[in-house]
Each structure stands twice: as structure tokens, then as C-alpha cells.
Subunit: 495 residues, 2 copies
């Protein structure tokens, strides 16, 4: 009975968390302006209730009993051990602290929306400082061995530390820098045709077609519009994505659809019967990001993918793209250059956007950088790493939603995800006969089936490192990403 009690308790916890996720989704997609105050209270209350359930002594009792139970299956044991670790960590935070964090997040998100819209950092600054202070308290409560950042990263990427990330970035920067120098010395492909007028509804329909082609199940999800695209799950039968559509830039919608679609395919592929259990959840943020990046970069930015899809895009936008050959289109969306906005950056300079945020977060968590001084530090790093001047807050420090959500320690998983993606994709190509020629005829099912089998339907029974070893036979190695990048961009830029 005790494993069943444990399961029921975790499912109840999942119910509350998913209900809270719906409050969040609605806030970003549909909620009217005056709903904000009550919504903040509702989210704080549900966060508090979830925290009470996650730290309930009765759950501690189940865990203790089950850890001593020799009759559990390996899967059951794995679930209990993961829950035990989280139970211990969460019990370091009071319900009051969790509710305070939730209120600060709601206030931060509301302020960020207005601040970004009005290019007014002052509106956001005090809310962000409050969040930094709370994250620093969180780190102290959670404890850490080396760097306070480790306590935050552990939420997203268990077992990976700030030192690991730093080492990876340090190893990876020189090769990337060399490649970028070669690219910057070459002639830039023309991409001016992206900046024509593209009707919103026509773009939307094309995005829906892309999601369907990827295998996204619309009877288990939907797509809506939000300021910042995201994926949210309320269980594997209801996994939603959002996108944004700019009529003056065709690329925004395309990449956000494919990217969020990749996240969503992972969530739709998690074992439905394990709702609420670790075995029914994703491994980590980096593995999650590996799925979105694999679809966005390795598939979506490949020439083969567009051999099939470009004629359909041309038929929708004949006036704008009718005279643009596939090759020019392919080169244009793989144009590499320093830019202001992370989410629209190319896949190479993207990593510098992450490195900037990683370094700023280290300083904020250490307490050496305040919200007040953040814009200046942000602008200085964009000058240093990408050589560009930041013209305003909205396109600078206010561009990302994450900090307003209290998500610090999150950004580095984006780069890890790209590296995992390259390594997984190389493995898929080597294991699935004709994979890339299937994609070039619009058949993505062989790839999706491989991902489902190797990653999605495993849930969270392994750590990221174990998944990587199991799927590819080797630990994470940036060489796969660099091999992919050198080959692809050598072809495009002719060196």
C-alpha cells in the first residue's frame, strides 16, 4: 500500500502544480490586465499548497518506509530516490518563503511586461532586486559546496555545477571564436528578403503545418500567441506551445514554432501512466533544450528540411519569395552575425548571449552586482563579447522573461542543450538508415520515433550524464557541435 500512497500523494502534488501552470499560461496568453493582482494571490496560494504537499511529513514517512523496502522494482526505487532528494531540499524552505517568492515572481513578471513595453527599466528594477535578494536567501537555505550558483543550477540540471559550465564554456570558446572569425571575414549572405511584409494569418497557418509535420499532436495541445514563446505541460495529454508573429520578419515565427515544437514533442512523449512521478517527467532543462535545439538547429536549419518545406512556403508567399532560390533562402537563415536579441541570434553567436547572462548571474548571486547596476554591466558585456552597442533597455537587459520569473541559473542550460542536441543528432544519423533523406521528403517520423524510444519515453529515470552515455555511448563532448558547425558553415561560407 505504501507505494500506492506515495504515488497518490505525488499525483495530488502534480495536480496542484499543473493547475498553477495553467494560471501562468493564462496570465501570459489571455489574462486581462486588471486580473493581475488576484492572479498573483492565486499563484502564491497554489505555490504554498504545492510546497506543503512536497514537504509534508506524511510524504517523508512514505519515503522512509519505501527506501527500506526490498520488494520495489528498479523503476519504483528510482522514483522514490529522486523524490527523497527533492523532499530533503524542499524541506529547507518554509511555506512562507515559497509564497513570498511566488508573490515576488508575479509582481516581477507584471513589472517586466510594462517595463519592456515602455523601455523603462526603473519600473522593473526594484522588483528584480527583490528577486535577487530572495534568490540569495534561497541559496543560503539550500546550501552548496563550491559556488552559490550551484544551488540554483541544481534545480534545473542536477549534478552539474558552475565550475562544470565554466570549464565547458572555456574549452569551447576558442574553437567557436576561430570559426566566427572565418565567417566574419567572408561575404555575408543576403537576407534582406526576410524583412518584407508577411501576412500574420498566412504565417500562422504555415507554423501550424510545420508543427504537424514534426508530429506535434494537436489533440494533445494547442498553439497561442504570447510576448515570449514558451511550452507548458499540464500532463502529457495537454502540452501547449506559444509563438509570436512579426509581420515584418518571417523568421521569428518559424524558429519559435520549431523550437517550442521540439520541447512539446518531448513532453507529449513522456509516459502518460507515470503522471506526477519522476519517471513521468523530463530529465533536466538541458535535455529538454536538447530536444528543442535538435529540431530547431540540426533539423530546422538544415538544407534538407527546406528542400521539402520551402516550396510550400513559397506558394504561401509567392510575391515575397517566388524569386528567391532555395540555396539563397538556406544561406540567409544561416547568416551569422553579432546581434542584440538572444532568441533571434544565429546558432553560433547564440552561445555568447548565454555566456554573458551566465557571468551576470554569477555576479548577482554572489551579491557583487545589484539590479541598479545591471544595465551598465549588461551593455559592457555586449560590447566586449559581441562588439555591439545596446540602444535601449527593451532590446537589452529587459529582453528576456527569465529573471522576472525568478529563474536564475537557467540560461546556461540553453548552451548545454545545443551541445547535447548535436551529439544526439549525430547518433541518430548513424543509427537510423536514411534519416536525413527522409527529412528531405517531409518524413520526420523516423527521427521522432528514435527520440521517443531513446529519450522521451524513459522519463526521468536517469540523469543527463547517464542519458548521454546511454544514448551515445560517451559523455557530453562539445566536439559534436563543433564538427557540425565547422562542416555546415564551411559549406555555406566556402572555406
Amino acid at each position: 500500500m505504501s507505494y500506492e500512497n506515495y504515488t497518490n500523494h505525488l499525483r495530488k502534488l502534480a495536480d496542484v502544480n499543473y493547475a498553477n501552470a495553467l494560471l501562468q499560461w493564462d496570465q501570459e496568453v489571455f489574462m486581462p490586465e486588471k486580473g493581475a493582482a488576484a492572479r498573483a494571490s492565486q499563484q502564491a496560494t497554489l505555490s504554498g499548497i504545492a510546497h506543503e504537499l512536497a514537504t509534508a511529513p506524511v510524504l517523508g514517512g512514505f519515503i522512509k518506509e519505501l527506501l527500506a523496502d526490498n520488494t520495489l522494482t528498479a523503476l519504483q526505487r528510482s522514483n522514490v530516490e529522486r523524490t527523497a532528494k527533492e523532499f530533503e531540499k524542499r524541506n529547507k524552505f518554509s511555506t512562507q518563503f515559497v509564497e513570498e517568492m511566488s508573490m515576488a515572481i508575479s509582481a516581477g513578471f507584471q513589472a517586466w511586461q510594462v517595463a519592456k513595453k515602455d523601455n523603462n527599466y526603473a519600473i522593473f528594477e526594484p522588483k528584480l532586486q527583490k528577486l535577487i535578494d530572495l534568490k540569495r536567501r534561497e541559496v543560503d537555505l539550500a546550501g552548496y559546496d563550491e559556488h552559490p550558483y550551484d544551488a540554483l543550477l541544481d534545480d534545473y540540471e542536477p549534478g552539474t555545477t558552475a565550475a562544470d559550465v565554466k570549464e565547458l564554456f572555456d574549452n569551447f570558446k576558442p574553437g567557436l571564436k576561430t570559426l566566427l572569425d572565418k565567417i566574419f571575414a567572408a561575404e555575408k549572405p543576403d537576407d534582406s528578403f526576410f524583412k518584407q511584409h508577411f501576412n500574420k494569418d498566412t504565417q500562422w497557418d504555415f507554423g501550424i503545418d510545420l508543427l504537424k509535420q514534426m508530429g506535434y499532436d494537436f489533440s494533445a495541445g494547442r498553439q497561442d500567441i504570447s510576448a515570449h514563446p514558451f511550452t507548458v505541460s499540464f500532463g502529457s495529454g495537454d502540452v501547449r506551445v506559444t509563438t509570436r508573429v512579426s509581420e515584418s520578419d518571417l523568421t521569428e515565427m518559424i524558429w519559435s514554432c520549431i523550437h517550442e515544437g521540439g520541447h512539446a514533442l518531448y513532453e507529449q512523449g513522456l509516459p502518460e501512466g507515470d503522471y506526477g512521478l519522476p519517471s513521468g517527467e523530463a530529465v533536466s532543462l538541458a535535455i529538454h533544450e536538447s530536444q528543442s535545439r535538435l529540431w530547431e538547429n540540426n533539423v530546422g536549419r538544415s538544407r534538407g528540411f527546406w528542400e521539402f518545406n520551402y516550396p510550400m512556403l513559397q506558394s504561401r508567399f509567392g510575391h515575397q519569395l517566388g524569386n528567391v532560390p532555395l540555396d539563397a533562402f538556406y544561406k540567409a537563415f544561416n547568416r551569422v552575425e553579432p546581434s542584440l536579441i538572444r532568441t533571434s541570434a544565429d546558432e553560433l553567436t547564440y552561445h555568447f548571449h548565454i555566456i554573458i547572462r551566465f557571468e551576470l548571474e554569477l555576479a548577482m548571486v554572489e551579491g557583487t552586482l545589484s539590479a541598479k547596476d545591471l544595465p551598465e554591466a549588461w551593455n559592457a558585456k555586449y560590447k566586449e563579447y559581441l562588439g555591439i552597442d545596446v540602444p535601449n533597455y527593451s532590446q537589452g537587459v529587459l529582453q528576456d522573461v527569465h529573471w522576472s520569473h525568478g529563474s536564475m541559473g537557467y540560461f546556461s542550460t540553453y548552451s548545454l542543450g545545443s551541445l547535447y542536441a548535436a551529439q544526439f543528432y549525430a547518433q541518430a544519423v548513424s543509427e537510423v538508415p536514411g534519416l536525413e533523406s527522409s527529412i528531405a521528403t517531409g518524413q520526420t517520423a523516423p527521427l521522432l520515433n528514435w527520440l521517443r524510444d531513446k529519450i522521451h519515453n524513459k522519463g526521468r529515470n536517469l540523469t543527463s550524464r547517464q542519458v548521454c552515455e546511454m544514448v551515445t555511448g560517451k559523455p557530453l563532448d562539445a566536439k559534436y557541435f563543433m564538427d557540425y558547425a565547422n562542416k555546415k558553415y564551411g559549406n555555406i561560407y566556402g572555406f
Copy 2:
């Protein structure tokens, strides 16, 4: 401190209930099909948590202390007394019972959707029987003096009994019958022009304009599409309505917009600072319905309202309505005739749709009518009261969502609402100078202000009866409705 503790506790309860309302709204408006199973679990869990909060011994402690506290204001005392009554009632139900009910409601709603779509009552029957059984258990647990139905009606209309409703209907039927006989003997106005093709988006835009004209605040709400129109509140800053639009019938959208808009104006007008407290909530379902019916019937079906709005409707649908004069339009939408569907019935025969449901509910709650026998009983009553044959389940017993939501004892408040509406509106006309001529020029603010002042901003400090006495100086009397109906339809039908 204790009143503050009490307030905080009730606000937390409201947070959970409003979160659950969002789960419900989303289920009816946006949720993908495969999300149903997890959603049912999420709603059951939140219902269980709300029940635990509503029956928590700590709340009982606050109530006991506050009832003995002589320093409370009248408003505070009124809140505590209302909470005390509900606390006592809810404590008669176990959390397990509440969760079982919630699961049965989710299953019932899902089954009803499919059954109605496929005209297949068999899909719904076992779910409905389960709900009837649970309602009968609920009645036994809650207790009652005279009729088991009283225990259900008390949730919606505290202080009103089945006997009260029966007496009201009995008093009111003969006069209504006489009026209907006169109408049926007269020539029917032509309403065939409603059955042309009316573009969905154009209708939608007109509906939005109507809501704005009524004073509905779109920064504190939104409108979406659902199978069955409804209003839902997540606090007075976020009150949403839904509608449905038929391209082959212009009237559906118009009346649902105005009707739900009337409900929403009430919720948007409740005192925001009293979030979660009785003084921040609506009086009862019948008073709620009085607001929707007042706008729908007394305002929306008046000639004056369309003096202003009809030219705008004509400009949107010139092809269909350009040659239809206002008078013909006014008479057409006030055409009275027996019909199958409650929600599209005229305001007179409407009451017979309610009487049928009231009588069927009495029998289901008594245990003398099973889900299996319901369709036959339904069809027999439609023949008896309205003289019409029911051709299928979808337009018969499956037409309304209520029973699938476990809402029994609810329908009678619709008729009560129309009677209150007529009485309130007559009072408003007598108190506000030039009210009807304002409406005829598109100015509804004088009416809304009067409703805000007399009813909306009072919250739930009074019972329905007290509200009626306070606003009109008299108890509820069907004569106001009959005066209104006799005058209006005498003019239209020329007797």
C-alpha cells in the same frame, strides 16, 4: 487579529476556488481532447483542497471567536455569520465525498459533450445516474425540513424552498397561459430574415460592440467561444464571458452576448477589496440571473435599445437586413412560439422550459426518476406543456450542460431571475429620470450606475428577499413581469 486571520483564510479559499474555475473555463474553451483525464484529476484535487479549507477546524475557531466579538462592524458580523452557516453545511460532507463528486462532474461533462455531439444519450446515461445518486447522498448528508430538493436549492438560493418555487409557478402560470393564448391566436411576425447567412467574424465584432456599449470592461475580462455560453469570475478584475455564433442564425450570438454581459457587469461591479469574503460575492443565483435577464429582456428586447443599435447592425449586414425596417426587426425577435431549445426560447414560453426541468429535478432527487427513464419523461413533458415533439436527444434532454455539472436545483432560479429583473427594472425606470430615452441613444451608463449603486457594490450582505425589499420596497411579485409582458406583447400583437 482574528478577523484578519479569518479574512486571510477565506482569501486563500477563494484563490483555490478561482484557480479551479480557470481549469473549468479552460476545459470548456480551449482544452485539447486528450487533456481531459488529467484535468479531471486536477479539478478533483482542487475541489478537495477547497473543501478542506472551507471545513478546516482553524476556520471554525476563528468563527467561534468572532461570533462572540462585540467590536465587529455590521459588515464584518454579516460576513462572519454567512461564513458560519456555510461552514456548518460543508462540514457535513467529507473530503472524499467532495472529490468523488468532482470526478463524477468531470466525467459527466466529458460524456455530455460527446453524447450531445453524437446524439447518443447512452454515453451520458451512466454518468448522469452516478451524479443523481451522488446528489441524493448529498441531500441526505445536508439534511432538509420538507423536500430533499430544498437542500440543493439552498446552495443557489438560500432561504427559498421547493414549496416557494412551486407556489410562485402555480400563481403565475394562469396569467401567462392567458397571455400566450392571445398571442398564439394572433398572426405571427415574420422572422425568416434571421435565417440567412451571417458572417461569423462580423457577428463577433457586433457582439463586442454591444458588450462595450453595456459598459463591460474588457481590461477586466474577455469573450471567447464555447459550446454553451457562460460567465466566470476569477475576482472582479477578471470576469470572462463566452458566446456561441451560428452563421445561420443571427439571434444566438446577440442574446448570449447581452445575457452573459449582464452577469459579467454584476461580477465586475462587486467590491474588489472584499475578494474572498461574502461581502465581495453575488447575493444568489436568482439575483445574478436578474442582472442578465434585465439586460437581455428588459433592455435588449426593447424597441428603444434597437433604435440606437439597429442602424449599426444594418450597416454590418446591409445585404441581409437593409430592407428590413426596425419595427419588423423588433417584432421578429419578440416572436413568441413554443420551441425545443431553452436558451433560444422567447421570454414567455421560457418559463415552461424551466417548469419542465424543475418538475423532472424534483423527481430525480426524490428517486422516482432514473437517468434511464429521463428522456421519455422529458419528451412527455415537452408534449404536455409546449405541445411539441422532441426529435432527438441533442435537442432534447441533452441540450443543457447543467446536470452534467452536477447542478440540480439550479434551473428554477432562472425564472425567479426574470421576475426579479422585471421588478428591478420597473423601479429603475421610476427612479432614474429619462432612463429609457438614454438607452434609446446608446447611453446605458445611467442604468448601470443605478444597478452598481443599488445591487452590485453591496456584495452578499443581504439575502435575495432583503435585496428585493431594499431596492423596490416590496417582496418579489410576479405582477411586475406580467405587467411588462402584457403591455409589451399587447403592443406587438395588437390586442
